[in-house]
């Protein structure tokens, strides 16, 4: 398609359009917004991006975002190092941390297995996870990948890899949202929740 904008504008729209969750229309809207606001504001945004990119890196141990070699969670000695929760992305750690329920450490895979996107097990931080087991004395791995096709397959792969090593491997439960109504749950979630039922303690 021939561009209707001058090259710098089109380039900006194209670059913005490559961001996750930004479609062509939003890209166009953001681009024109940026062109309209004062140059100072744009510079601040540009600097923030460059600065974050320069200073933030991945934790050498768990691949969470960090501003030094290790992330704050890996640096925290109060954490139970025998328990590791495996997630797809750093943002999942944020979600899990909000619960305040988990006192172990994390491991970020940086994705999930998806042949369509060209992501195989060797593209994920799986080897690095295995390498952590011995030195850190990991006893249980909780698989917290997303409950979709790719996340499930990744969890299955990890279970097959880790169980023979003699680790306790668990999968996060999936089911009903707390505070929700049964009638509003979709059939698959409800079916899953029924499958994963447990007996009530007296």
């Amino acid at each position: 398609m021939a561009s209707t904008y001058t090259p710098p504008v089109q380039l900006l729209i194209d670059e913005l359009g490559r961001l996750p969750g930004v479609g062509p229309k939003s890209a166009q809207r953001i681009a024109f917004h940026l062109l309209k606001i004062p140059a100072d504001d744009v510079n601040r945004l540009a600097e923030a991006i460059i600065d974050a990119k320069k200073r933030v890196r991945f934790c050498e141990r768990c691949f969470n975002v960090a501003d030094s070699t290790l992330c704050p969670i890996c640096n925290d000695d109060a954490r139970d190092s025998s328990l590791v929760c495996v997630v797809e992305e750093s943002r999942d750690i944020v979600a899990l941390e909000k619960t305040g329920e988990f006192r172990g450490r994390y491991h970020v895979l940086l994705g999930a297995m998806s042949p369509l996107e060209g992501i195989g097990p060797e593209d994920l931080k799986i080897r690095e996870l295995v390498a952590r087991i011995e030195p850190e004395g990991i006893e249980e791995v909780i698989l917290c990948t997303n409950p979709n096709t790719e996340g499930e397959v990744t969890a299955m792969y990890l279970a097959r890899l880790l169980k023979p090593i003699g680790l306790k491997v668990t999968r996060i439960a999936s089911g009903l949202p707390v505070g929700g109504d049964l009638e509003y749950a979709d059939e698959l979630t409800l079916g899953r929740a029924l499958e994963g039922r447990r007996s009530v303690e007296d």
């Binding site: 297995m113 042949p115 097990p121 397959v153 299955m156 792969y157 979709d186 698959l188």
Partner: protein, 365 residues
């Protein structure tokens, strides 16, 4: 459940029209190209969120406009009414509202309105390739329980992922597969089997329930007792898909596609012991297709305890007099909408007749 009123705004050739449908049989009369099938399509859209003609979303919006609306008043068996509104956009996401409340996901509408459509195109169920019969089984499953829609989508996704993986393996091209690909395939196979075994079981159960109903419907329509057999017995179901995938792995890798599984199944339909697809006459094929649809409709009625809306789109022109009379003389209970270009045969008992021309209702009836 019945649809008591259907309003179309900028849908296909309708700029604005509303239809009051009776709870019995409504007949929509009009010449070809006036909008009869469009009306049937709008009703079916509320049930499946797709066009039964396989038209893309933007084709549903009236030419020259960028948004169309299907608004339906639905009366449930307990007397409750709901107002369902689907906004179809030529570009961008569609929206659905129930009682003026926007649904979070458009797919949440599935199961609210249930519609069985029979149209001349359904001949393809009998005459077309195995994919058409798979679609017949799966669409019928979705009317019975909407979870099958999600299961079907997930299965398609797994097959796509697995095929991509097989193509990578094919390129690797060794006699022995590299271990990492081998192990990755194992996991995808496990996931595929888990869902396919469940889906295969659902299809098999459906076919065994529906078979006697097809036989009965066919006999009734054709007036002769030709033995009809429906057979859904994929080889892989004997062992479960897991074992079948293991056995087929060499083949799959060589060809770079998944050669066994629910996506390759066939539903054999025979009449007088011969395959309907190749050996039945056109008239027999049409009657058989209608019998399949009517059986699906009956099963849905029995299982859910209330009849879906039955839409017979332009079928009278395709059936001979005897069969048309047999069909119209014994319509199943529930709401029926019949569209036709010709005047009704005497056997038809219409509770209401609506005439349409060029996307508008002709007043006077």
């Amino acid at each position: 459940m019945i649809v008591s009123r259907l309003e179309l705004i900028d849908f296909r050739n309708y700029s604005e029209a509303s239809f009051d449908l009776t709870e019995g049989t409504t007949v929509v009369l009009g010449d070809n190209g006036q909008g009869k099938t469009n009306l049937a399509e709008a009703l079916a859209y509320l049930a499946t969120l797709t066009s039964f003609r396989g038209a893309p979303g933007d084709a549903l919006v009236r030419v020259g406009t960028d948004q169309g609306i299907i608004r339906a008043t639905v009366r449930h068996d307990d007397g409750r009414e709901s107002l369902i509104e689907a906004e179809l956009r030529a570009v961008g996401r569609n929206r659905v509202q129930v009682n003026r409340q926007k649904l979070q996901r458009v797919r949440d509408l599935l199961g609210t309105v249930r519609v069985t459509v029979f149209s001349p195109d359904d001949l393809i169920i009998v005459k077309g390739g195995p994919g058409e019969r798979r679609r017949f089984m799966d669409d019928t499953l979705v009317t019975l329980a909407t979870k099958y829609d999600a299961i079907r989508l997930e299965m398609d996704r797994i097959v796509k992922q697995r095929n991509t993986l097989l193509k990578q393996a094919q390129k690797a091209g060794h006699r022995e597969l590299p271990t990492d690909i081998e192990v990755t395939l194992d996991v995808w196979d496990a996931k595929f089997s888990e869902i396919a075994d469940q889906f295969g079981y659902a299809r098999a159960t459906l076919v065994s329930r529906i078979a006697p109903m097809v036989q009965e419907a066919y006999e009734h329509l054709a007036g002769v007792a030709s033995p009809i057999e429906l057979r859904y017995e994929p080889e892989w179901r004997r062992t479960g898909l897991k074992a079948a995938l293991t056995a087929a792995r060499g083949d799959d890798v060589r060809r770079g596609v998944s050669t066994v599984g629910p996506h390759r199944d066939e539903l054999d339909v025979t009449i007088n012991g011969l395959p309907g697809r190749t050996h039945a006459s056109q008239g027999e094929q049409r009657t058989l297709a209608l019998a399949l649809r009517l059986a699906g409709h009956r099963l849905a009625t029995e299982r859910i305890g209330s009849a879906p809306v039955l839409v017979l789109d332009d079928v009278l022109s395709e059936l001979d007099d005897g069969r048309a009379r047999a069909l119209l003389g014994h319509l199943p209970d529930g709401q029926v909408v019949i569209t036709t270009a010709s005047e009704l045969p005497p056997a038809a008992r219409a509770d209401r007749i609506i005439r349409i021309a060029a996307g508008t209702i002709v007043p006077g009836d």
